[in-house]
Amino acid sequence: MGVQQPTPTELLNIYYYLKLTRGLEQRVITLYRQGKIVGGVYLGTGEEAIAVGSASALEPSDVIAPTHRDLGANLMKGITPKEYMAQYLAKQTGLTRGRDGNVHFGDITRGIIGFISPMADLLPVAAGVALTFKIRRERRVVAAFFGDGASSRGDFHEALNLAAVLKLPVVFICHNNQYAYSTPLSRQMAIEHVADRAKAYGMPGISVDGNDVLAVRNAVALAAARARMGEGPSLVEGKTMRMRGHAEHDDASYVPPALLEEWRARDPIDRFAACLRDQTLLDDVTAKAIDDRIAKEIEEAVLFAESSPLPDTKDLLDGVYAA
C-alpha cells in the first residue's frame, strides 16, 4: 500500500495548522496568566506534529477521538479558534456551552468524539464508531489518540483487543510524551515502545518520530489505508516530549531540564519549517502571511470569546436528556 505524498498546498496547510495550534495555545497561556481562563489549561506544545500529522492523513469523512493534547487535530476537523477560545472562557458560545471545560469538547457531526477526562475511555468508543463503519460498509476510519499513561488502563486493552478481534478500521495513535503527569515512562511500563503493546493484539505496531509531522502522517496514512481495506486496526506510536507541565499549574520541576533542552532542539514546527524552506515551499513572505493570518484569527477568537455571553442559569436543568 503506497501513501500519497502531500502536495505543496497540503504541506502548507499542515504548516498552517501546526502554527495555528501553537499560536492558539500560546495565547491561552497568556489568558491563563491574566486569570481569564476558567479551570485548567492542557496543552499539546511540542506534540503538534502528532495531532496535525495524523489528522492530515485522514479523509474528511473519517472520525477522530482526540486526547487533551490534540488541538491540532480538532482544528483540522473543523473546530474554529472562536469556539475553542469561548470554550476556554466557559462561555455560552463554547462547544459545550459552559457545561464542560477546556479540551473537553467535540462534535460528532464534524467527526470528533468529545474528549472526556478518564484516560482511555474514548478508545472503546472509537472502536464502536469503527464497528458502525464496518456494519454499514462505509470506508471510513477512526483515528483514536491516547497517551503513554492511558495505555496502562484497562479500557486501552479492551478497546484494542476488541478492535483487533472484530477487525475494525481504527488507527490507535499514541502520544508517547515520556510522562503521565509526573510519572515517567519507566514507572508506567516495563517496555520501551508503546508500539510493542500491539503484539498483544495481533495488530501492527509502529514507532515513529513524533516530532516529524510527515513521518507521523505517513505512518497514520498507511495504517488508515490498511484499516480502510478491511484489514483491521494498527497502533502508531509517536515519540515526543511533553514540553510544558501536565497542565499550566504544574511547573514540571520533576522533568530533568536537559531532557527538555534536548527535545526543544527537535521542535516539530521549527523542523517542519526548515524542511519547507529547504524545499523552497516556504519563504519569509509566505511565512509572514501565514503568521499574520493566524494572529488575526487568534485575536478575533479572543475577542469573540471575551464578548460572548456567559451561560444563562435559566438553562441549568436543560439538556441532561435527549428528547
Partner: protein, 323 residues
Amino acid sequence: MEITYLEAIRQALWEEMDRDERVFMLGEDIGVYGGAFKVTKGFLDKFGPERVMDTPLSESGFVGAAIGGALMGMRPVVEMQFSDFIACAFDQIVNMAAKHHYRTGEPVPMVIRAPYGGGIHAGPFHSQCPEAWFFHVAGLKLVAPSTPADAKGLLKAAIRDPNPVIYFEHKYLYRHIKGEVPAEDTIVPIGQAEVKRPGSTISVITYGAMLQHSLAAAERLLTEGIDLEVVDLRTLQPLDMATIASSVKKTGRVMVVHEAPKTGGIGGEIAARIAEELFQYLDAPIVRVAPPHTPVPFSPVLEEAYLPNSDTIAGKARALAGF
C-alpha cells in the same frame, strides 16, 4: 396467548431488530449460544453476525463500543451476562454515556440489558440488584418491568429512546411468570408507573420481582379487610411521581418494597420525596420493605430469609394498617 417474561423480551428484541436495521446487539455468548439465559436464541441465524455480535470478555470495552455506535446513529443493545458485571463497565456508563448529551447535545441512543436479581440461589455475584448505583446518575434512564407485557413494551420504548437506558430484566421472572402481551407493536412509555391493583388501605410502591410478592400479599390481606393498592413503578428513572402521589393521596399510608438492599436503595428516594411533597397526606410512617445491608447470600435458607416475600410484606402491611 400467554407468554413468559423471557419470551416477551425476546419478541421485543426480534421485532425491533426486524423493524429498524440500526438496532444491533453486542455481548458475551449472545450469538451461537443465544445468551446465558437464551434470550437471543435464533437471532444469529436470522440477523447475521454483524447484528448479533459475540464480543471478547470485556464489559467496559463493549459498552464503550455501544456508545460509539450510538453516537453514529445506530441503536446498540448490549447484553450483560449478569447485571453484576455491569460494575466492570461502570465508568463508561456513568462518565461517558450518561454525561455525553449534557455536554455536547448529541444523543446516545443505546440500551444495556441487565439480567438482575436473586431468588435463583446464585449468590453474591449473580444475584445483585444494582439499579440504585445508576439512579443517582443524571443522563441515564432506568426501567425494570415486572410483567411480560411491560417487559415487551418497555424494551421497545428503551430501544427507541434517544438516551442510554438500562433495562433491568429480572432473572427470576424469566420463566416464572407468564402473561398476555398485546399483539400489535405496543410501546409502554418510559416514565409511567401503573397501578397493578387498586386498593384503599395502603399504597405499596414496588417494581421487579417484588410486584408478584406484593400482589400475593394483597390477596392474602383482603380477607382481613386490608386493601392494598399496588403501584408498579416500571420505570425507575425518571420516577413517575404523579402516579405515586395520586395513590398516596388516596390511601395516606405508604409501603415501598424492593429487592435491592434497603440502605441506599431507590426506596429511600421515594420515601423522601413523599415525606417532602406529600407530608400532609400521610397518616402513618412510610415503611420500606427491603433486604438488609449484606451481600446476597448463596445458601437457599439464607437467601430466603434475606429476600422480602409475601409473608414479610403482609406482616409489615398489617402493622402499618393498624398504625
